[in-house]
Symmetry: C2
Subunit: 140 residues, 2 copies
């Protein structure tokens, strides 16, 4: 569990924690059933109030990413409740709209946008393409 905070950021600390935990689960760094560090441990680690961590964990439980076993701790949920296809497309669309709006406002072209997306996915080794070509290339 590696967590970090950006104190000066406009996004609240509890939200940063939520996003990072979600990202680590998505990347497989946290597997189903894995225990999470306690509220108080994270709070000490990040030099942050315990309530702030509890707020983040609570949101992750409500969203189904974590399960709470009272008295024992928090664990990564076995299966995150899959979003419906329509809901997934809807949220993807609003996220895309935001990105395109930013791209327009900085005066970037479609090609620059595609390049940036490709470069980030490549570098961060995330959201990899599932085609065989890519897989073979990595094995070779």
């Amino acid at each position: 569990m590696r967590l970090r905070t950006t104190p000066g950021s406009a996004v609240p600390i509890y939200r940063q924690i939520v996003e990072q935990v979600r990202a680590q689960i998505a990347r497989g760094e946290l597997a189903a059933g894995d225990p999470l560090p306690s509220v108080r441990a994270v709070a000490e680690e990040l030099v942050v109030n315990a309530n702030t961590v509890a707020k983040a964990y609570g949101e992750l439980v409500r969203s189904g990413d974590l399960v709470s076993e009272p008295g024992r701790g928090l664990f990564v949920a076995e299966k995150k409740p899959a979003l419906s296809a329509v809901e997934r497309r809807r949220r993807l669309r609003v996220a895309v709209e935001r990105l395109v709006a930013e791209a327009i406002s900085v005066g970037a072209s479609r090609e620059e946008l595609d390049d940036a997306l490709e470069a980030y996915c490549e570098h961060a080794d995330v959201l990899r393409r599932a085609d065989r070509d890519d897989h073979d290339r990595r094995i070779a």
Copy 2:
């Protein structure tokens, strides 16, 4: 000038105005030199405080999207000061990071993301590709 607000939204009203004006300039709905409706007119239209509109306009002036002619009004700037290539790439990257994070959290694949991006650019007729193939396909 078509503006709308989403009162329940987490993004502040003044920021919604900023984004919408920027988008309209980018789309060409507002051309360089075009006058903008007065602070008080927009405030009445949106049923919003004049200070809130002034705050949005002020930010647009500071960012170089609008120019202020004291006593006359606000106008779309002739040429928005082009961002440096590195700055453009930097801002594009953080925007891409946000999109990818959302894509991961909703469990979307890379292909779904690409499709959503393509579909939005196609539908909104925005950030069009500049290659000849695409152009020919549309003419045909």
